[in-house]
Symmetry: C2
Subunit: 157 residues, 2 copies
DNA sequence: CCGCATCCAACGTGATACTG
DNA sequence: CAGTATCACGTTGGATGCGG
């Protein structure tokens, strides 16, 4: 989910038209034009799918404490299954966000750590967490309000 | 996926223990302690699920251009089905990220626009997009490298 | 200790058709 | 125009058991 418009069409396997302009005006004066749409859209969507799954960011944040072994991670990331930890780590490793170091001893010893770009990722995501922290009261309020008026749509004239 | 550890357990419906500390050291000196884990962990995960789905951010970015009607949105967000646009908008509306204004005329006229907190969200996510933009070359390279050595694990001693 | 393979249930999503 | 309802499908993720 990220300014896609093409990415999922490609994924879906239908056609591949690519057009349209896209401009964004954030509160920081952030402005992205069609450049952002074409260049970032597909990639942004793609990367978010990678990093936006159920466990990736959890693992990344855990690794931001420092390198960890497989079992340490499994303990730290409560609730993750062995399978999903493996799958998640493979994905992160493939994208160069996590580095895996294996020591061929018996029993096996494998360490995982964040790469420099993985470390930067932690920073950008932290700003999102900051947003959550700043606004979850409002979000809760909004939800309560929404759920309260459920069925009786507020009509504005 | 966001420092959860409890959220999904709750969602899964098993037990609900809640313990452990969580500290994060980003490259910005960002540091979150167990506070972050309990206060943000569940919420962060929860909100990311909300905002991290297939369409939400796409819709949010589209709305950052300005208010739009349902059909305008459907046109702008290429590939989205009517159903998913409805579902996505409902979710965003419930969380107070999008405001819906309905004019009871015939034919119906409904407008969607970003709330102030929705607007701020655009800013935080833009920083993530910036990360993608800064690093997708490296990510591509990492993937190529990873796929190339597939099957022949690099062993580090 | 670390990980892969298999099976299966749940959820998200899309297609289609119908309504005020 | 702006939805709702129903169905069907693919992907995700959990459980389990085996292997180096």
């Amino acid at each position: 989910m990220f300014l896609s418009g093409t990415a999922f069409i490609v994924r879906g396997g239908t056609d591949t038209r690519q057009e349209g302009t896209f401009s964004v005006h954030g509160h920081l004066g952030v402005t992205m034009q069609s450049h952002a749409y074409t260049a970032m859209g597909c990639r942004g969507r793609e990367i978010l799918d990678r990093v936006g799954d159920k466990w990736s960011m959890y693992v990344v944040f855990t690794l931001s404490e420092g390198p960890k072994r497989f079992t340490e991670l499994k303990r730290a990331v409560e609730g993750i299954s062995q399978r999903m930890l493996t799958v998640t780590l493979r994905g992160l490793e493939r994208d160069g966000i996590v580095r895996r170091t294996m020591y061929p001893v018996m029993p096996p010893h494998v360490e995982y750590e964040l790469t420099p770009i993985g470390d930067k990722l932690v920073g950008t995501v932290s700003s999102f967490l900051g947003w959550v922290e700043d606004h979850f009261d409002e979000i809760d309020a909004a939800r309560a309000a929404y759920d309260a008026r459920e069925g009786r749509p507020e009509v504005h004239v």
